[in-house]
Structures are given as C-alpha cells and as structure tokens.
C-alpha cells in the first residue's frame, strides 16, 4: 500500500514530463515526430494511471495510445503530408488569450474541489461503498464458484432489499460513522443488489452496473468500423493487382523483423486471450484484450503484408466478426431475459449458483467486446493502409 505522499511524488514528476511532451506535440512541425511523441505521451500516461492504481485504464492506454493510435497516425501521414506548413506567426495570440482565460476560470473552479485523495470527497460516497461491499460475494464471502447459503433468497435485481425506512436509518448511521472519521473499509451502506459479484470491481461495474452503457460503447466502436469502411472503401479496379500495393512487401526482406515477429505473435495472442478471460479476476477485460489481439494481427500485416493477413482472415470475415461481437453482447442480455431475469441480469444464467451465472455472463460479454474491438481495430488499420499513396491519388 502506498501512501498519498509517495503517489504524489511520482505523480508530480510524471505529469511534468507529460506536460512537456504535450507542448512538444503541439509545437513540433514534423508530423512523423509528432506521431512518435504521441506514443511517448500515451506510455507516460499509462505510467500515471498505474501510479494512481488504475490498472485497467493503464492497460488500455498502453495498448491503444502506445500501439494502435501511433500506427493509425503514421498510416495517415503516408497518404497525406509529412510536415506541417510553417505558421506565419510563432504564437497565435487570440488562441493564447482564449486558452489563458478559460484555463484561469477553470483554475478558479479548482479551489472548491476536494483535495487529491480525500476519502471524504463526494464521489466516494452514496452508491460506491455499496457497490464495493458487494463486488464480491454473497453471505459466505467467497468468490466465484460457490453455492449460496441454504436460506439465501436471490433479491429482486436493482431493488433495495431493505425497506425505505431501514435504508434511511442505515444511511444515517453510516453518515455518523463518516463524521467520526471512520471511512476505512467502504462497508458503510446496506446492500442494494448491484448484480456484479466478481473480484475485479472495475469489470463488475463495466459489465453489470453499467452493462447497458458498455453495450452501446461496443456499438460505438462497431459504428466507427462501419464509418471507416464507408469513408475509405473504394471499388476494386482491374489494374489493382498489378500495382504494387503500399505496405504489402516493404518489410519482408528484413530477417530480424520477420523472425522476431514470428516469435512474438503467439505470445501476444495468448496474452490477449488471457487478458480477456481473466478480466473478472484481475486487471483486464474485453477492451484491453481486444486491442492486444488486434496488435498481433497488425504486426503480422506490417511485416508480411496485408495479402498474408487476408489469407489468415478475409476482410469479409472481419466485418462479420465485428458484428458478431455486438451480437454476442446483446445475445447474452436476451438470454437473461429468456431465462426469466432482466436484460443483462447475469445471475439468471445459473439460478442454482447465481455467482457462477454472473461470472459466466461477464466472461461471455467480455468476449463479445473483445471480438468487436479487435476486429474493428484491424479493419481500421486495413482501411487506412489500403489507400493508394498520394502520388497516385492526385
């Protein structure tokens, strides 16, 4: 357990680096350098998240920011320009004025903010202690594969298990304990049922408490894939085969890259599947694992060329899989409905052992997210790489 001072010490150093990198990204004119700097920026940010104990976010940031965005940016620069046009003036005064004024107003607002790490801050109360206290376990306090106690009645989902008066009394008692400075273990409020009882609270919230939200986030990503296809797909012409496709052959001759990528790809894939499957027990989940799996495919396409990638998985199948992921997610929700629960009420999947049902539902849902995220990332990469270089385009 780290104390707040230690966190802040590392934090203040890292954030200085982050800010300097951000200024460099805005000011450097070579766009390739900017693309690499954004990679550095994201990795620094991943360190900041880790330092603040936000493992799942750090995971995502490292995979998305350090990996995918950098590749996407470079893929775009190949088809557009390499350097920013020199500006007429070094400093854009109106913009500076607007940002300084806005920033000043926001800083004025921070004086009302609770201190960093203050356990009494509003955000840590109301429903959060309830969610945390329930994240694991029925009455036995054991995780995952346990049968509920003999007299256990599954409560109606999302409905308070205590009467309104009892809840109010419990809340008052909790508030008094808070006032007395006792906010240690987050077990302050009585149980409403939040329908998510797995050890990783982040996954529990992601897949159960905010299950609808996550489903539509997945849909947003799917929509981005569709948008890329609509914006960039062009009808295949007869002479396409004869033209050297950009990005198809350039790295084949590099022995070191070829051997190393062959060594790496199985491990990247295994790690990706581990991250998805393990999401309910430790840091990880569908978003992180999906991006990790996508990087394995993208690495393969970068080194061996996209035709080799299409031999592994055809563009049509990629599109079908992207849709399948969303279908898996909503299908699990529909299955819960059919089994007599609410939409995405995973406990309905296994009435005899609701804990197992929840673990099963969350894992399935995470796989749905993982499938959509990984295939959409590969589709995005393919669409950006498939463009003709600028000389031919004009």
């Amino acid at each position: 357990m780290t104390s707040l001072q230690e966190i802040l010490l590392v934090d203040s150093l890292l954030l200085v680096l982050v800010t300097v990198t951000a200024v460099a990204i805005i000011e450097v004119r070579s766009l390739y350098a900017v693309a690499m700097l954004t990679g550095v920026y994201s990795l620094l940010m991943a360190l900041v998240w880790t330092n603040m104990h936000s493992m799942d976010v750090a995971f995502t940031e490292a995979a998305v920011g350090g990996g995918i965005s950098t590749i996407l940016l470079i893929g775009t620069l190949v088809h557009t320009v390499r350097d920013e046009k020199p500006a007429k003036r070094r400093l854009h005064l109106p913009a500076l004025l607007v940002t300084v004024l806005t920033g000043g107003a926001l800083i004025y607002g921070t004086f009302d903010m609770p201190d960093f790490g203050d356990p009494k801050a509003t955000i840590h109360h109301y429903r959060v202690p309830e969610m945390m206290s329930q994240t694991v376990a029925f009455a036995t306090g054991r995780v995952g594969k346990q049968a509920p106690p003999a007299d256990y009645q599954p409560p109606p989902r999302m409905v308070p298990t205590l009467s309104a008066e009892q809840l109010a009394a419990e809340r008052r008692r909790a508030d008094e304990r808070l006032k007395a400075g006792d906010h240690g273990d987050h077990h302050l409020h009585p149980a409403d049922d939040f329908n998510g009882h797995v050890p990783n609270a982040v996954t529990s919230l992601l897949a159960a408490y905010r299950g609808y939200d996550t489903m539509f986030e997945t849909t947003v990503i799917f929509t981005a894939g569709v948008a890329l296809l609509l914006l960039l797909r062009r009808p295949r012409r007869e002479d396409d085969e004869d033209e050297p496709q950009p990005g198809s052959e350039p790295l084949r001759g590099q022995v070191i890259l070829r051997v190393m990528s062959k060594l790496f790809i199985p491990f990247i894939l295994a790690f990706g599947f581990y991250v998805i499957t393990h999401g309910e027990l430790g840091p990880g989940g569908g978003f992180q694992g999906g991006v990790v799996i996508a990087t394995a495919f993208i690495l393969y396409a970068l080194i061996y060329g996209r035709p080799a990638l299409y031999a592994v998985i055809s563009p049509g199948n990629l599109e079908r899989l992207a849709a399948l992921g969303v279908l898996v997610y909503s299908g699990v929700g529909a299955a819960c409905l059919l089994l007599g629960g609410n939409f995405l009420d995973y406990a309905a999947l296994d009435r005899a052992s609701p804990g197992d049902g929840e673990a099963l539902g969350m894992t399935l849902v995470e796989y749905g997210v993982g499938i959509t995220v990984s295939t959409v990332m590969i589709i995005i990469f393919n669409q950006l790489a498939e463009q003709q270089p600028k000389a031919r385009a004009s």
Partner: protein, 129 residues
C-alpha cells in the same frame, strides 16, 4: 494534505486541456488538430482518474487466498471513474480513426490538409462561380 499541493493534479489537467485547446484553435494542420483534440481528452481522463484516488487506497480488485476466500486489502480507490475512462479511451481511438479517414478524403478532394488553404480553395470556387 492541504494547500496547493492537494489540487496540483487538477491544475495539470487544466494545463493539458488548454494545451490541446490551443492546438485545436491555433494549428491549421488537420492531423495536428485531431491530435490536439486527443490531448484535450487525456486532460479530462486525468481529471476523472485523479478524483478516484483515496488516501491509503489500493487498486479496486479483491484478492483471494488458497481456498477461494477473500483477503481484504483495506480501502479501495473508486472504480467508477476507472470504468468511465476505460471505455472513453477506446472510444477516443475510434474518434481519431474516423477523423483520420475524413482527413484522407479531404486530402484527396483538396490536395491539402491545411485548414486555411482549404478555406481559400473554397472561397476561390465561390468567386469563380
């Protein structure tokens, strides 16, 4: 923990947001603008994750020992902002991808991705018509 050090993180988030904001306004290159928008977003991410920290807290993941029973690690950081930002990061890369696709199409149509040149080309077209 009090005084200005307690709100240091909020100042950095504002600094990052304003650096991104400046980039969006002042830079004419469309790729640069898309990246600046990303910096603006990470500023907001920092704000959320900073709020989630609890003094003495640890990552909101429960640990189990041998027989599957729980080991209580004490207070946890707030998991809710983590969830919000986790999905927001993946959505932000989708936004970046769609923006880059639009930029490639703009390059195809106008031959440039500098905002002021595109505006000039547009106004020339209007003058010609």
């Amino acid at each position: 923990m009090s005084g200005y050090f307690g709100i240091y993180n909020y100042w950095i988030y504002i600094a990052l947001m304003m650096i991104g904001f400046y980039g969006v306004i002042a830079k004419m290159n469309l790729v640069k603008q898309a990246i600046a928008l990303g910096i603006f977003q990470t500023g907001i991410f920092l704000f959320y994750i900073s709020m989630a920290v609890v003094d003495g807290g640890t990552a909101p993941i429960w640990t189990t020992i041998g027989d599957g029973s729980l080991k209580h690690l004490g207070p946890y950081d707030n998991p809710l902002p983590h969830v919000l930002i986790l999905t927001a990061i993946v959505v932000s890369v989708s936004i970046l991808a769609v923006a880059l696709a639009l930029i490639i199409n703009i390059k195809r149509a106008y031959g440039t991705i500098e905002y002021d040149e595109i505006t000039r080309l547009d106004s020339d077209e209007i003058d010609d018509a």
